[in-house]
């Protein structure tokens, strides 16, 4: 019975992949953008590291790996759930999701997973190739870190998704949440270590960042990948990441239950 229920979502996932492959050209802009960010920041870091001294234990090679993996991760962390909810609420199409024998957030999650699956081929691989050819091949620090990176990346995906979903659910009450979604996007960009690693910030600022969920989206998996963090320190960080995941999950469950009762179908 449980498995049968899952197969419904599996087909929604599959349909989303088919859908994503029908618009071929819209996704290539992101490759260009990520490549530009990757290449310009490679120039930037090479210039900064000209003296050759590692900063906070990270040398230039580690830093270059960092930016390539960060660009690749950004593809896995693309969410559409916030826009999907906003659109459905604004246009009233949420009715179409609510009348199906499925959990609407389950639909949104597998739709995002479907889009990402399509993007692995359309975006992630091209970015990997561009980075490998023009910057360097981003190899992981040690094979032991592969499972740790995978676990941390998985948690990072869900933290990111739940934050997006929470922002999206604002539209159940505020209807127009465009600005809020923009704020969220930039918060994650700047405070997660996706562009500037937090070890370049002063201690007090870093302490604040470590208390927020954003660094557990990019910085932690990246640290694991380049071997910046290991042992007890790493275990501690992953614990905090897990705690954030649980906190966001509880917040999501609470808000989702209240929000769906508030559904107001516009028009008609």
């Amino acid at each position: 019975m449980k498995l049968k229920g899952l197969s419904k979502y599996l087909y929604v996932y599959k349909t989303q992949i088919i859908r994503c492959f029908t618009y071929k050209f819209e996704v290539y802009g992101n490759i260009l953008m990520q490549s530009i960010i990757m290449i310009t920041s490679a120039f930037f870091w090479r210039a900064l590291y000209r003296t050759g001294n590692p900063v906070a234990g990270v040398d230039v090679e580690g830093m270059l790996t960092y930016i390539i993996i960060s660009a690749m991760m950004s593809v896995l962390l693309i969410t559409n759930v916030e826009r999907r909810i906003e659109n459905s609420v604004q246009k009233g199409t949420i009715a179409m999701d609510m009348m199906k024998p499925l959990n609407i957030f389950g639909i949104y999650l597998v739709e995002d997973l479907g889009s990402i699956t399509a993007l692995v081929f359309q975006n992630l691989l091209p970015i990997f190739l561009v980075g490998s050819l023009l910057v360097k091949v981003p190899t992981i620090c040690s094979t032991e870190h592969i499972p740790l990176f995978a676990i941390s990346m998985l948690m990072s995906f869900f933290i990111n998704w739940l934050i997006a979903a929470l922002f999206g659910m604002w539209s159940f009450t505020a209807v127009n949440v465009d600005a809020l979604i923009q704020v969220k996007k930039h918060l994650i960009r700047l405070l997660s270590g996706s562009i500037i690693p937090m070890w370049f910030f002063p201690d007090w600022f870093r302490n604040i960042l470590e208390a927020l969920p954003f660094v557990y989206i990019y910085q932690l998996p990246l640290d694991i990948y380049i071997g910046k963090s290991s042992g007890d320190e790493l275990a501690g960080m992953m614990m905090i990441q897990f705690v954030w995941l649980i906190i966001l999950l509880i917040a999501f469950a609470y808000v989702a239950r209240r929000a769906t009762k508030k559904v107001l179908v516009q028009g008609g």
């Binding site: 419904k8 859908r19 009715a95 179908v265 008609g268």
Partner: protein, 326 residues
């Protein structure tokens, strides 16, 4: 027989909307403090619908029809009251209950714009866990009336409105639900599409005993499909009953149209009311209880020579006009 399919008990729905004030001052004020206004969209509705009934749900725009349909199909949560579909509370068990419901909104689509129609059907087949053979059979039946296989490979984006609504209707019936909700299904359709749609609704109602509830502003839909009417206005129940009974009660009169040989001295009659004359024509409205049409004709013909007569029944449009309070 007479199994209760839908039970609606004391159903209410309130909306809270932010009151917008006038002008720039109001807009600025609204940024800091907003006043909430409560709108009672549906007030204390009570009714039951038996299996196999086709019920017309009518009322003016903004009467609460769509809101009620959306509550019955699990989209909106009622503020209070209870809705049982086949004995199960839809508010508490939405996912289970909607498995047994089909919904078509004439102004919206559940089909996927970017994909072929068949792809949307295939998705629904999996969502509702329909067996492939059963799916093909259902599609065959629907193909006979709606010619659906002809458009199954067409992307929904490229469809005409008529084709899209047909697609939506099939999509709603793929899982053979016991209850079908149609919210203004024929809106904007041409005559032949309307005809096909009505034929389809009648057919599934007859063959599959599907209970159908439809909202419409189209008199043709009501005349051809509905035996029973529920009329609501301002969220309240105005009428609920057999179409013929409602007509008899609200408009228990007929109109006799008489054409005389000339337009001079057109006679009146004591047991009916002459509502208008035009040249040699006269319209007499009479109560069915007061006098029969035959008696009226023979008595009038004694007064003046009649060329031709016809009788107009009170139409549904009269009923609706009266019921809507105009």
């Amino acid at each position: 027989m007479n199994k209760k399919m839908i039970e609606v008990k004391n159903l209410c729905k309130d909306y809270h909307i932010v009151k917008k004030e006038e002008g720039l001052k109001g807009a600025v004020k609204g940024l800091f403090k907003s006043e909430k206004k409560t709108i009672e969209a549906v007030r204390h509705l009570d009714f039951t619908v038996d299996k196999g009934e086709i019920v017309g749900f009518i009322g003016p725009n903004g009467a609460g029809k769509s809101t009620t349909i959306k509550m019955m199909s699990g989209i909106l949560t009622p503020s209070s009251g209870e809705i049982l579909i086949n004995g199960v509370d839809i508010t508490k068990h939405r996912k289970e209950v909607v498995q047994n419901i089909g919904v078509v909104f004439g102004q919206r689509t559940q089909l996927n714009w970017d994909l072929r129609l068949g792809e949307s059907f295939e998705l629904l087949r999996h969502i509702y866990q329909i067996d492939r053979n059963e799916y093909e059979e259902t599609l065959d039946v629907m193909d006979e009336i709606l010619d659906i296989r002809k458009i199954i490979d067409k992307p929904v984006r490229q469809m005409s409105l008529g084709q899209r609504v047909k697609g939506d209707l099939v999509a709603a019936m793929l899982h053979s639900p016991d209850v079908l909700f149609l919210d203004e299904p024929t809106i904007g359709l041409d005559v032949s599409s309307k005809y096909a749609l009505r034929k389809f609704i009648k057919e599934i109602n007859k063959v599959k005993q599907t209970t159908v509830i439809l909202t419409t502003h189209d008199l043709g839909d009501i005349e051809e499909l509905c035996e029973r009417l529920i009329i609501i206005n301002h969220g309240k129940m105005m009428e609920d009953g057999n179409l013929v009974d409602i007509v008899d009660r609200i408009a228990p009169y007929k109109t006799l149209v008489v054409q005389y040989y000339d337009h001079e001295n057109i006679p009146v009659h004591h047991s009916c009311e002459m509502i208008k004359t035009e040249g040699n024509m006269a319209w007499y409205r009479f109560m069915k209880a007061d006098i029969t049409a035959a008696a009226l004709i023979s008595e009038l013909s004694e007064k003046k020579k009649i060329l031709d007569v016809s009788i107009e029944e009170a139409g549904i449009d009269d009923i609706i006009r009266i019921a809507y309070g105009q």
